[in-house]
């Protein structure tokens, strides 16, 4: 910590630096992390336009215009129109909803199944651990996207099923991560003391174990959202995700590849959007990892 930062903290809050809450320290480190801020900005930007889609002054994403089929970008259509005259920008903005929703929902699913299973396997050990760990190994052996495609194929093509398929495919990552963390933490002295004073197991888990395993899970979740968004785009691109005419970046690219020579803009924008939002989550995840790492101040 530099002298400058020390005086600043003391001046502003009137308290010595040692009393700074860990959350504040994390936030401070995070704010200094330039690339993480860029990531945060990208993610916030896409979340905002996805949320604001209904109130933005854009045309109906499903409205076709046969007089303006595959028109290049112009004042009327900033990003051009698609093969049946729909506004590409409007579909891009509404498509952000599908992508972000898919990322967040599938990762929430993976976390809410994976973390409890990981805690059980790590804390209790024994046969529960053996069963859970072997199942995790088996699921991890199938490549992520292959598993998601197979599940989506058997469940039937829809955005909801794509999210379920991606969520299940991502679950073993969280089981393995949580298990490892819990095994490290349960041998700490403070957990032993908690057990020694007779605290009930649920309380030990919620008060002492969970808060300490959360940071790495948060980092992994952020990075997995990036993977999940690419996976959803891939499934939609193959026709296994969001079904037409509902807009999604992946399905827009799927149509666009048939009109590459006539309408390049149709392929350009959805790809750039996927790239930027995924880059955003990756930068954010990397930044969070550095900020939450207690080893370096």
């Amino acid at each position: 910590m530099t002298d400058n930062a020390l005086t600043q903290t003391t001046n502003r809050s009137g308290e010595p630096i040692l009393a700074a809450k860990p959350e504040n320290r994390v936030w401070k480190k995070f704010r200094r992390h330039k690339s993480a801020m860029v990531g945060g900005f990208l993610v916030t930007f896409f979340v905002l336009i996805a949320l604001a889609a209904p109130i933005l002054p854009i045309s109906d994403p499903a409205a076709t215009d046969w007089g303006a089929v595959r028109k290049p970008p112009s004042m009327a259509h900033w990003m051009g129109t698609d093969e049946i005259g729909r506004d590409v920008m409007s579909r891009l903005i509404w498509g952000a909803q599908a992508s972000l929703l898919a990322g967040v929902v599938s990762v929430s699913l993976a976390v809410s199944i994976g973390v409890p299973l990981g805690v059980i396997a790590g804390y209790f050990g024994g046969w529960a651990d053996a069963v859970i760990s072997r199942c995790t190994d088996a699921l991890l052996a199938a490549p992520f996207l292959i598993l998601a495609i197979a599940l989506a194929a058997f469940l039937g093509p829809s955005l909801t099923n794509a999210m379920i398929a991606i969520g299940i495919s991502a679950t073993p990552i969280f089981i393995r991560l949580t298990r490892g963390q819990v095994i490290n933490i349960k041998s700490e002295d403070y957990v032993d003391s908690a057990r020694a004073i007779g605290l009930p197991t649920p309380r030990i888990l919620s008060r002492y174990i969970l808060p300490n395993v959360l940071p790495p899970i948060l980092v992994q979740a952020t990075l997995t959202i990036a993977t999940a968004i690419i996976a959803e785009a891939s499934l939609s691109f193959l026709g296994l995700g969001q079904q037409p005419p509902e807009p999604s970046w992946g399905s827009m690219l799927n149509t666009a590849k048939n009109f590459l020579t006539q309408a390049r803009w149709m392929a350009l924008w959805p790809g750039i959007s996927i790239f930027l939002v995924v880059l955003g989550f990756n930068l954010l995840g990397d930044g969070l990892r550095d900020a939450l790492d207690p080893r370096e101040l």
Binding site: A138, I146, A150, F154, G156, A256, L260
Partner: protein, 314 residues
């Protein structure tokens, strides 16, 4: 070495059994009666009864599984509904195509990823390091099917340098075969190069801070020899195993890459099977890639053992 590998194989066995259970259970996810999928338009009660008997759908589920796994162990993964070919035969036909794609992609990945990782570690904190990191992170964030589309647009449509799609077997025309595979393997390879670069960098950084590197520098060796002879050798050990583990990513990436460039390989096979509701093929591919991945894992463990003399004493 042998006991070490045997122990690994014993651990892998239950995993393989579980994978087969999962793959078998997948067909139970199908909405409705699987029989109606098999029968197609046919609704004749006699045909239905025949199919029910043939596919043992009257048996309890565990007996169905045992029958399925017994056949699978003998190399019989069922018949493709679409082509009426055995699934194993179909996969054997497509595999060489994907192996060629995988090998060429891996060459791109290694040639780009490892030097970039070394450079960025040696020049840590400089502009070179910064740029290498940004490029790697971008490589991880670009959906490779979109990169493929953009490359087709630029290289095939605009510059007309390379064919946009298709596949020529190596045995037919070597040069043309390499040319058609160049773009797809570049697309697939760059995605892996990003992962390789990041791991090479961190592995190299930790080796560069060890005592023996300091000793090598202290005794006056040139920086070139310190890096190439002392540091690199040790830094690459984990990278060798990582390369084996990237196999899974290669197969998954091949699905979309083959789709974009219309290459008739393993990845295109699974996508076509999904759309033709050819479930036996989908199951077969998941089973084979998962078991293949476990063998790559074993191979990676063995390589680690061979490259790391410290393990030999145990």
């Amino acid at each position: 070495m042998l006991p070490f590998l045997l122990r690994r194989i014993v651990i892998a066995l239950p995993t393989i059994v579980l994978i087969s259970v999962f793959v078998f259970a997948m067909q139970k996810l199908l909405p409705g009666d699987p029989l109606l999928v098999l029968a197609g338009e046919e609704r004749d009660p006699e045909t239905l009864a025949f199919l029910r008997e043939k596919y043992r759908l009257n048996d309890p589920i565990w007996m169905q599984y045992l029958a399925w796994i017994r056949n699978a162990l003998q190399g019989d993964l069922g018949i493709s509904l679409r082509t009426n070919q055995p699934v194993t035969e179909l996969m054997a036909q497509k595999l060489p195509v994907t192996i060629q794609l995988a090998i060429m992609s891996m060459i791109f990945a290694l040639v780009i990823g490892i030097p970039a990782g070394i450079l960025s570690a040696v020049k840590k904190g400089t502009t070179t390091d910064y740029i290498a990191n940004i490029v790697a992170l971008s490589g991880l964030s670009i959906p490779n099917f979109w990169l493929g589309i953009m490359l087709i647009l630029l290289v095939s449509v605009k510059w007309q340098l390379l064919p946009a799609s298709g596949y020529v077997p190596l045995s037919e025309d070597f040069g043309q075969s390499i040319r058609t595979m160049l773009m797809p393997s570049f697309v697939l390879g760059t995605a892996l190069a990003a992962t390789l670069m990041r791991h090479t960098r961190s592995s190299m950084l930790s080796v560069l801070s060890t005592d023996y590197v300091r000793t090598a520098r202290a005794k006056g060796l040139t920086e070139r020899i310190v890096i190439l002879k002392h540091a690199l050798r040790n830094a690459l050990t984990p990278i060798v195993t990582l390369t084996a583990l990237l196999f899974g990513e290669l197969v998954a990436g091949a699905v979309l890459t083959e789709q974009i460039f219309t290459i008739p390989g393993f990845g295109k096979l699974i996508v076509d099977a999904v759309f033709n509701r050819d479930y036996a093929v989908v199951q077969g591919i998941v089973l084979v890639t998962a078991v293949g991945f476990i063998f790559m894992n074993l191979f990676a463990d063995a390589m680690y053992y061979v490259l790391n003399p410290r393990l030999k004493g145990q």
